[in-house]
């Protein structure tokens, strides 16, 4: 199978680009990029390709958006076509946390806990306006968007979003995963739980 080509614009940090806005082609790489060898870049792409096409999701289903999530899972829209087939109900086995529905204040420690339990690399999708911004629930009980407690990668608007929108969001997330830098291993220390 053919691996996707190296995409220069994805791997090059903003600071390394010369030539201003109109000519956004990287002509020189930064020190950092020089040190990344040819092999590592290809490895990163390969890993990105593999990761984006086998997304294991953890559906954190709370509310009405769950109905459209069910539709997106079922026969007609079939999210499995895009490599996100299997919901894993253990955060340890999941790559993608889908926040489907309203997050209220009582729920927020649970959500944070689930997010912390997931292993790196992990991505988060805010499914519906409630998870993105609180939606039209603006009162004492609700959190104004899941991004107030955990970082979010993709926002899917809609109340609830149609399944097509979800699939679109998934494709955008896949592009994002492809252009991120992936390493085979990391020397960083894992962050402590609950911090």
């Amino acid at each position: 199978m053919k691996l996707p080509m190296l995409r220069p614009e994805g791997n090059v940090p903003e600071s390394a680009r010369l030539g201003g806005e109109e000519n956004n082609v990287p002509v020189m790489l930064s020190r950092l990029d020089e040190t990344i060898g040819f092999f590592e870049k290809n490895l990163s792409n390969a890993l990105g390709w593999a990761r984006k096409n086998s997304i294991f999701q953890y559906p954190f289903v709370t509310a009405c958006c769950g109905m459209e999530y069910m539709s997106a899972m079922a026969g007609r829209y079939d999210i499995a076509r895009f490599g996100a087939e299997f919901p894993r109900f253990s955060p340890r086995q999941a790559d993608l946390l889908m926040i489907v529905g309203t997050i209220n204040v009582k729920q927020s420690p649970v959500l944070k806990r689930v997010y912390d339990q997931m292993c790196e690399p992990k991505w988060v999708m805010a499914f519906g306006v409630c998870a993105s911004s609180g939606g039209f629930y603006d009162n004492y009980a609700t959190l104004q968007g899941a991004d107030r407690i955990i970082p979010v990668d993709v926002y899917v608007p809609g109340c609830p979003p149609r399944p097509e929108q979800v699939l679109d969001g998934l494709k955008i997330l896949q592009d994002k995963i492809q252009t991120q830098r992936h390493r085979a291993s990391t020397m960083e220390r894992a962050p402590e739980m609950g911090k």
Partner: protein
């Protein structure tokens, strides 16, 4: 439909007052009698009200003074002005028990009025099992104490929550967070109040994150 029901209750309990609005019959009873009255309605063969549909409560604090409705943001603040104008109404709370008889197809509402300095009602969990959660719900939202309830704790909200949200003097957007919010330096959260709002990145707001108490902004 069943003016007869009010007569029935008033025949047994002369201190109850009856009223009717758009076909809904209501009897208002003194607080001490509520268990007696509901027990009577449950067991009397002419009433047979075996189904407790709902317990609801109303805070009448701004019932008369509330200015106007409207779709604009300003209307959200309207109760606040009303509160300044007219601080107290007594008796301030009403608890309503909506009862129904499946066999006789008739319904009745039993209402109790409470003063805000003495918010205690005897529990009816001994009569209806379902009253358990309804009473907890009313306690959670209005702070009405149900004397003798086996497990009177918050139902929907969390123990850390201070205050009772459905009281009219509780601000709509007063949140009491359990998890501190993240601080993204350049997150723009679109128009609206709050840190990072109004299109200004959070790092550039003159308020500064440190000065904002997450519980008070709205």
């Amino acid at each position: 439909m069943s003016q007869a029901l009010i007569e029935l209750v008033r025949g047994k309990f002369p201190d109850a007052t009856g009223s009717s609005h758009r076909g809904d019959e209501v009897v208002t009873v003194p607080r001490e009698r509520v268990v007696e009255v509901i027990g009577f309605l449950r067991n009397d063969p002419a009433a047979e009200m075996k189904l407790l549909r709902q317990i609801a409560a109303v805070d009448v604090l701004t019932f008369r003074s509330e200015t106007t409705g409207g779709g604009s943001i300003a209307s959200i603040e309207a109760p606040a002005y009303a509160l300044q104008k007219k601080p107290s109404v007594e008796p301030r709370y009403q608890v309503a028990y909506n009862l129904y008889s499946i066999t006789r197809r008739q319904s009745l509402r039993v209402r109790v009025e409470l003063r805000s300095d003495d918010m205690k009602v005897p529990t009816i969990t001994g009569l209806f099992r379902t009253a358990d959660w309804w009473e907890r719900y009313i306690y959670d939202m209005f702070g009405v104490h149900f004397d003798g309830h086996p497990n009177l704790q918050r139902l929907m909200l969390y123990p850390e929550f201070v205050g009772y949200p459905l009281r009219k003097d509780y601000p709509v957007r007063k949140r009491q967070l359990l998890v501190p919010e993240l601080d993204f330096p350049d997150l723009v959260r679109g128009p609206g109040p709050g840190p990072g709002g109004a299109g200004v990145p959070m790092s550039q707001t003159h308020v500064g994150r440190a000065n904002v108490d997450p519980n008070t902004y709205d």
